[in-house]
């Protein structure tokens, strides 16, 4: 299991659950700093037909982070083969709105708000 963990956040792929978990406070500076997380997401999507990204414990994601997530959604949409779904939380304000916007990029993106 590949895992990136700092004091502020953790990101890991659980192949058994076909799930990538992002949790904590993601405030990396610039799109380049997000590359390791983008790589983790893309690698996970390659390994599974149906990939779930669990964000419900990701309390904060800055603008570079949402850009990275948007680009990830576009990549998966264009690849056609992978089914993608996001799990968020109704309690986290940014997830309620921004995840819906990502659905505009990929209409068959599945979003579940816990």
């Amino acid at each position: 299991m590949k895992k990136i963990e700092t004091e502020d956040y953790k990101a890991y792929f659980d192949p058994e659950a076909s799930q990538v978990v992002l949790a904590g406070f993601l405030r990396l500076s610039g799109i380049d700093a997000y590359q390791p997380i983008m790589d983790l997401l893309l690698a996970a999507a390659e390994q599974t037909e149906s990939c779930t990204v669990d964000l419900h414990e990701l309390e904060f994601l800055n603008s570079s982070g949402i850009s990275m997530l948007s680009m990830f959604v576009v990549r998966i949409r264009d690849s056609v083969t992978t089914k993608l779904s996001f799990v968020g939380s109704k309690k986290v304000l940014w997830q309620v709105r921004s995840l819906k916007n990502l659905k505009r990029l990929m209409p068959n993106l599945e979003i579940t708000l816990l």
Binding site: I66, V74, L93, W94, R97, N101, L102
Partner: protein
Amino acid sequence: MHNFPNSTDTNPELPAHLAPLLQEIECLRKENADLRIALSNTAEHGDLIEAELYETNCKLKAEIAVRVRAESTLNTLLEMLTRQKSDLEIIVQTLMEHGDLLDTQWYEKLHEVVLQAGIDSLTQIPNRRRFDDYFERQWQQMRQERLPLSIIMCDIDAFKSYNDTYGHLAGDACLKQIAEAFCKCLQHPSDLAARYGGEEFIALLPQTDLDKAVIVAQRMQQIIRDLQIPHRSSPVAQTVTVSMGVACTIPDPTLSMSHLLQQADVRLYAAKRQGKDRIVSTTIV
């Protein structure tokens, strides 16, 4: 070549007629030869033109095929660019909205933290820090408006022995009940009640003179009595009681804020000295 009978024998004028005919035949032969050449030239020219047209046609067909391919490529490119443009528009909008949401999220957190910083964690009413800030603001405002500002200082009687008798958990519960009752008695939105420390509470009543402040204090005293919180070790009553000091002033530049606080404090301790469970609103010199 036709063989004509020698008609000169029969017609002496015939040679004279024959000569122009022979000439005409010769002319016709030449014309025929010229026409044959012309026909051959025309046919050859036609072939050339046809070959040229064929070649041009082939070139045009090839060009059309190239252009059709180019158009198809351009259409694909246009489609791709249109999609990318649409993606980018969505991403920009997502980013803008996300930024605004983050602003809101941080602001709410900040607001919560600021609020928490001003709230007493046990009683959930404003703490001393919040009271001090508010007192300063109201002091300036009442000074400008030349309006009275009152303070009620309240202390639970024999609270140490309450804790000793019933334990600290019961003591905390008692503090919560008193705090709630204390706050209930405030009537104006600008009034503020706070936990001042330990078992001490304080209320700030802007635009309220001493008489009205005393009425509020009496209401507080009564509502706390009505709670009927048992206090068997109290030297005053069988239930929890409070002592209060009330002070009022119209702030002016010659007075300090601490003067008003001190006055209320002095009166509170006068109430304690006089036997507790009472309100003192005058200073006996």
